[in-house]
Symmetry: D2
């Protein structure tokens, strides 16, 4: 079984497993920095060349001000040739690399900590559990490179259900252990598949490798703070047990464990950087269901 | 004089002072974590209650999917009562807490490293120096609390030009020193002023305290990687020497030093957390002139 | 009493009073063109100088392509000096001059023709009664200039409840009559008030003159196709009988009569152009609750 | 040769061929209404099933307020069960059925009436010739059904250059004539092709039938007010004489004749409705380069 954290940090808690990240845990996590190498785990935010879900629309960077506006600051004592470029961003919160807020997924009409699914409103946004409650997540990051573990090519075969035993064996092989309060980064190679497949012009399949119910239960028992992956949903698709979003319900809904998707884990995997300090800072959009992110992993 | 870093890291360099952040510098920065306290420096992203520049529009969180869409996932084996909330974000890159890309400001029609100001295009975006070149900034953060230093109230009087001597004296009083590769966080109390003033219903003045030419030159000589503040532009307004964006030209354009605005520095100041690890991860929007951010400061 | 048109044009009807606009009615309406003068009734769509409701955000015109993109079409045989400018529009459907779809307002959880209020979905949009069902509205337009009728200044005093008798007396004074299938344009002078008040820097009050329950009932009995005004809601505010959106419920919900707000009626009123052909063509946004419009009135 | 209208209506004129539409011309146009049938020529605005240009992004209708916001108007005396649905629109001005502003295309760095191409600014928008100058276009509409004329299937073969002689012969066959001040609607069948091709899953080719230089010159000589088509650019692609936007330069730039694209002309063609009153009312977006439209054609 997994773990139910409803009420564990109070009936009004809106931060879930982030409560595990006490100053002592953060200090211990910081001690995992040994090389001083910085990895930026976000994938580009652009209209092409990255996996996009059709219903979420295409991210747009629109220019707000450019050189055609030269001269508009003269009234402020602006020298000729001095100016500024600016733009506007239009994008879905769950497009490209992103973090799910606790208000993102519900099961039995309930979010984490027994919050009703109608707490999310169209105009008003999330009345509870919005992404702005995260602040900054700072945890020990543990990378489990399942591509290297299975050693069957550049990615774990699409649709493979990664189990608790798989994760444990990979950790053992890598010489790392998963501890309470960790952020676990599960590399499936999905992005590598996606880019290769796109280059070949193939249709992008819905299937992906990812963790299933067994692994999710184990991670919840481990009392981790967050689980991330390089795929679209952390979890295996088709969904384990044919239960839509089942892993989200185990981790996000029941345990209040944060989930992040579409992280680029190629470089730390290549360097064997299996441990480090992970910092994730979702935009503080009041009432939002998630945020695009660009996590920083420091080995 | 300040410092000109054009060509220092190669004629094609697009990362500027981030080049200072070598693994050794990062490791040293990590050693500044002593308390394990995590501060999220972003201010909320919302339509009210935060300083917004009119021409940048109002940030909008728009609901993409909510409980009214119940049932649309049935075809994927979705249980009754299971679903997901999502939203879309529309906002200017330089709204609320943000980082400027090196392509943001130009002087004499040139950006950092002699890049022509027409390198920014409306449709194509920044062909060079875009925010996606940052990846993740990880540096030792040094907070200089100028409000405490001047000790004249809850904020430095609007329009005060903070000098190099002011910064040095504040650092000395706090017992910290500014080193090469640091990210310097200059607290002016502006946000506190803004919130107080808004509560009183007053019009928001254009003036603000901030660093001037003298301080900018000194920070450039110190070879810092980034300078941030809790005000709208880091620099004093009215602009020093009545030269529009003069500090941006010294830091961003000439020295390739990154700038961040509207950071909430109240909590680390209150705790006397003057040193720590600062991580900043702007969204990797290809070709963008900046990004909203939510920096993490770990003391 | 008003009129209930549910079922009148079939249980599945989604066009309401537009069904009145048969070819014969349209031909008769066309005969009301006597002067050949064309009036554009839309107010500008811009961020300032027009009444905006805060929760609907600020309309934004963002440049998609400008002269900085010169040269991108060379591959298509583009001559030097040839190019195109384009932009992107971000705005609420009910901002500035707009038409309400039948799916806009509900009463007792029901829209026109007994459609459940949950027929509107966040992701999916309106499953019925969306604005795309309108196509083009072509009707005889009758302008009732209540400012001239009351003759108490440049606008009808804010909060005045305009009655059926007021409308009838104004029509009589103007020498026009209201017929079945007409689009009735009720001028209250609100926009004139708003612009004058803004010029004085005054706060914009919530109150406005408009029709009340009595006038709405009469218009429904007249079997008109649409009712429009130069104010924010057609109806008087504070709402008649203190019943929120009560006139919308009489006209839009019960009778399927279309409503349009924020039309600029100054010029036809000045010319005494009380009859003409009105054409309104809301954007065919699939599933939308309304559309910005720029109605054309031809006297 | 075509026609150059620069200066014809004054050096400061920003309305071009709309100046032809005097009250007498409008009255004459109104007399072309004989059947009272109303055709809505706009195609749907939605993310799928309509031709979209990739760089213009996907139009988005986003819900602003829905049934999850129930209760927010209680403070205004709102009865239980009463409420309103609203949405926000994000779309490019030239997406789906649209009208080009005179500021849209330039040749030799000049727009209509010798306006410099830098009159368009990213932040400021069009300083001249913006779409808000149109107001409402009311003209006699003449439909030339080139599909019926060529009689080679459901659409004119892709890439066919429609000539002046083709247009004249079609007009003669239909028994209509093109007059000064007319809006000429050229049906190529392109939309029919596009929909058929999409149903088959084929890639959408860049080629399209449309008018070439010869036909454009003739239409300019005819002194028409507007030219519209059911294709993407009115003009044939590949561009006539391999000159990018050559027809736009003849009509829009030199003659100030308005252009409209992606109009659905199937229904009037089917009915043999070759003459009528056309009304087009682009949104009055200040400084915009064009507007989505939904023209109304009344036969």
């Amino acid at each position: 079984m997994g773990r139910n954290n409803w009420g564990r940090w109070g009936d009004d808690d809106e931060r879930g497993a982030l409560n595990l990240l006490t100053p002592d845990v953060v200090k211990a996590a910081a001690s995992s920095i040994t090389q001083g190498r910085v990895y930026s785990l976000g994938i580009p935010i652009q209209a092409h060349g990255v996996p996009l879900m059709d219903y979420r629309g295409t991210p747009m960077r629109l220019t707000l001000q450019d050189s055609t506006d030269d001269g508009i600051y003269e009234m402020y004592g602006c020298h000729t040739g001095t100016g500024a470029h600016e733009d506007v961003l239009v994008m879905a919160a769950h497009t490209t690399s992103h973090m799910d807020a606790l208000v993102h997924v519900y099961g039995d009409y309930r979010h984490y900590n027994d919050v009703d699914y109608k707490t999310m409103r169209a105009l008003g946004g999330a009345q509870k559990l919005g992404i702005e409650k995260v602040g900054g997540l700072v945890a020990r990051g543990v990378l489990l490179d399942m591509v290297a573990y299975f050693d069957e090519g550049d990615w774990v075969p699409l649709g493979r259900n990664i189990t608790a035993n798989d994760l444990q064996s990979a950790a053992k092989k890598q010489g790392v252990e998963v501890r309470a309060g960790d952020a676990v980064l599960v590399r499936t190679g999905y992005l590598q598949f996606w880019w290769d497949n796109q280059a070949k012009g193939g249709p992008q399949p819905f299937e992906q490798a990812g963790i299933g119910i067994d692994a999710a239960n184990w991670l919840a028992q481990c009392d981790v703070a967050a689980v991330a992956s390089d795929n679209a949903a952390v979890e295996v698709i088709p969904f384990d047990n044919n239960d839509f979003l089942t892993v989200h319900k185990i981790l996000l809904v029941n345990a209040g464990i944060y989930m992040m998707e579409f992280l680029n884990l190629v470089e730390p995997a290549r360097d064997g950087a299996y441990e480090g300090l992970l910092t994730v800072a979702p935009l503080k959009v009041t009432g939002a269901t998630g945020s695009p992110i660009n996590p920083t992993f420091i080995s």
